[in-house]
Every structure is written in structure tokens, then in C-alpha cells.
Amino acid sequence: MIVPLIKGLWLTLTKCFSKPITVQYPEEKIPPAPRWRGYQFFEADEQGRTKCVGCGLCMVVCPSQCITVETAEDEQGRRYPSRYEIDTTRCIFCGYCEEACPVNAIFMGQGYEWVGRKREAIFLDTERLLEQKRFNPSR
């Protein structure tokens, strides 16, 4: 009767002086898996513009219908998205937009920290999608 009690005490004592396995989150982070689907980003062309041609396939394929695309044409006849917006509060990170894209413009990134005080502040538009590229250096 006494021996198991002492065994238990010994176990907790040894665990007490072992190194905690806690990850101290804001200071140290566990990197996401290589195929992790986080917040999207835009691939840029040589001039730093988005490669997106505004075909709207991502808008069609998106199951939660969180992507809005409006297309325009510039002077050289190049089509570009005059308005591209992802409602990130509704995105389910399925990755269909990445699969559907015919010009490899949009990708699922590695970022998962996405906070703001207003909903509008965390929506992704063209500029912010291009900015997101710097969090995903490998792709």
C-alpha cells in the first residue's frame, strides 16, 4: 500500500525537475507543415504587379464564396483585377482557388496569425495579397 504511493511521488519528483515541453508561443513558434494552407498570397510578375488576369475562376470555385473579383483592362490591353478581395473571415482554407488559378497567381501561404479589431481590417485585397508574399519566401 505504501510502495505505490512512494513510486508515484518519485515519478512526479523526477518530472518536476525535467525540462518543460511547453512552447512559449509569442516568442517561439512551431513552423507550420510544408503543405500547410494558410492565408493566400499573390505571385508578382517582373514589374511587381500581380500575375492575376482577373478571370474569376477562383471566385466561381470558392465553396464559401468569399472571393470577389472585378476585372478591368489597362492601356496595353492587359486584363487585371480592378478589385480583388478575399473575405478572410469566411475563407475555409480549402485551397481550391490555388488549384483553379490558370496563371499561377494565387497560392495558399504559410501565415496563420491574422488578427484585427475590425473585420474590414483583416480582409485581403490586391496590395495586401502581394505583401503576403514576403511571409512565404520559399514559394
Binding site: L5, G8, L9, L11, T12, L13, K15, C16, F17, S18, K19, P20, I21, T22, Q24
Partner: protein, 339 residues
Amino acid sequence: MSLLYLLIEMVIKCVVVFGCLMLAVAYMTLFERKLLGHIQIRFGPNRCGPFGLLQPFADGIKAFFKEDLIPGRSDKALFVLAPMISITSAIIIFAVIPFGNEFVLPGTNYVVKLRLADVDIGLLYIFAFASIGEYGIILGGWSSGNKYGLIGSLRAAAQMISYEVALGLSIIGVILLSQSLRLTEIVHLQAGGFWNWNVWYQPMAFLLYIVCGLAEINRTPFDMPEAEAELACGFNIEYSSMKFALFFMAEYAHMITMGAVAVTLFWGGWQPPLPSLAFVPGVVWFVGKLFVFLFFFIWQRGTFPRLRYDQIMAFGWKVLLPLTLINLIITALVEAFKG
């Protein structure tokens, strides 16, 4: 004039002891959370200040600013009184604990005794107030008008009765050895090295005292009155804000006093473990030994699961009580044959 000096001395000692006790209670909560964290291979609180050292104050400030609710169907007078009874009886025990020997104030011939009161029925005083502390729990649970609170306080009452008997009987062996209820005398008799400590003469009583003491302060293997899983915190379920904090502080203050009494009775109080180590002040030894006990109280909390209610009752009446009685009889016989 000497009366004035005595008054000043008493006031200073009271303030220092009270302050140290409250600080110890505050840091006990942090120490417990840290140690439990490390036992569970976590860190414990480490966000408030370096190593989380400001956490007790953050908790205290938070408790102050919480809404202070008194349930409509409660007995309001008793509901307010219960936490006060708890904290008062827990703190008041420390008045008779001798935490050091006397010393002469440098530059004068004024002798300062390191204890608040040297009562000749010190042990009786301690156990009287330790029992009154339970009334706080019983009244608190009952007056809140909550069924969980009521069950918690019923359990507290039952547990108090069954373990108080064994607790009282376990220390009678020590009283037989030292022929005195005065705590300073009990400590003086244990002078001259660790082999003179009562724990070697009364090992069984020491173990029984620790077990019964844990039950008395409602520590984890015996924390029936506030069994979280089944009673949703038991007696203090309706308490919020500073009233809850008072119960909380009372629990830790009670734990510290239980440790202090164990040190005084069994581990030689302020006496150094070896006579050659007498140059270290007695207070240091006292605090050091007390720390060992507090560490054990938390350590076993992180180890043992809560017992079932009927097991606790059976253990108290069918195991602990006979063991203490046997221990008492053997001690009495040995003392009688020694002459």
C-alpha cells in the same frame, strides 16, 4: 518605561509576522502553481514580471475588482462572516508559533523573544483555532443556500470530526515525551542535533500527523469539501471577489501553520540540525524546515488523486484512529517503564 518598550516590541513583531505571513501566503499560491506546472511538465505562470513573480499581486488586484455577489436566498450575516472566521482563525494560530530563539538587541541589553506569545497551553490553543477555522467552511457552504455548498459543508463537518480525533491523538505522544503543552519548551527539549528531534522518537505520530493535517486543511487527497469534479467547488461555490480570496488565503495560511506546527513538534523548531551549525540564526532553520513541509504538501497534491468520500471516512475511523491509539498506548507504556 519597560512597558512602553514591550508595547513597541509587540507591535513591531505583530506587524512583521503578519506581513511575512501574508507575503508567504501570496507567494505560496505562486509556488504551488509553478510546482504543479513543473510536475505536469509545464512552466506555470511566467508572464507577470520575471518568472511570474508579480502574479500574486495581479491575482489580488483582479480579486478586488470583481463583482461582490451575495445570493438572494443566502443567510447574509453568516455568508459575510464565514470567510472572516476562516482567515482569522488561520492567521491567529501563528501567534504562538515560536519561529526563533531570543536574541539581545545590539547595543542594548534588551532581550527580544522571537515569538508573539509564549502561551503555556500553546498546543491546545492551536488545535482550538484550527477547529474554529472549519466553522468558516461549514457556515460558508450552508449559508450560501446552494445545494453543492451545503453538501460541501456537510462533508467538511464529517471530515473535521473524524480527522480531528486522530490529529489530536497523534500529538499526545509528543506531549507525553515533553511533559508540556508550551511550544517553546517542546522545542528546547529537541535541542542538540537532529537525532534529538521528536520525529525519531515518534515516527508513527509524525506520519499520522501529516496525513491528518492534510485532511484537516482540506488538502488534495482529502479535499472533499471542494471536490471540483462532483461539487463544482463545494462550499465556496457562491463566493466571489474578495470573499473568495479570503477563503483562498485562509487555506494557504492554514497550510503554512500546519507545516509550522509540524516543524515545531517534530522537527525541532528553530534548532539547527547539527550543534556546530548554531551560528546560523534560528529563523533561517525554521523557514527552511517549513519550506520542506510546504514543498511536500504541494508535491503530494500533484501526485495523489482525490479519495472517494466513503473511503476517506473509512480510512479515518478504521485505520488512522486505531493506529493513533496504538501509538499512544505504546508511548505511554515506554514512558511509564522508563520511570
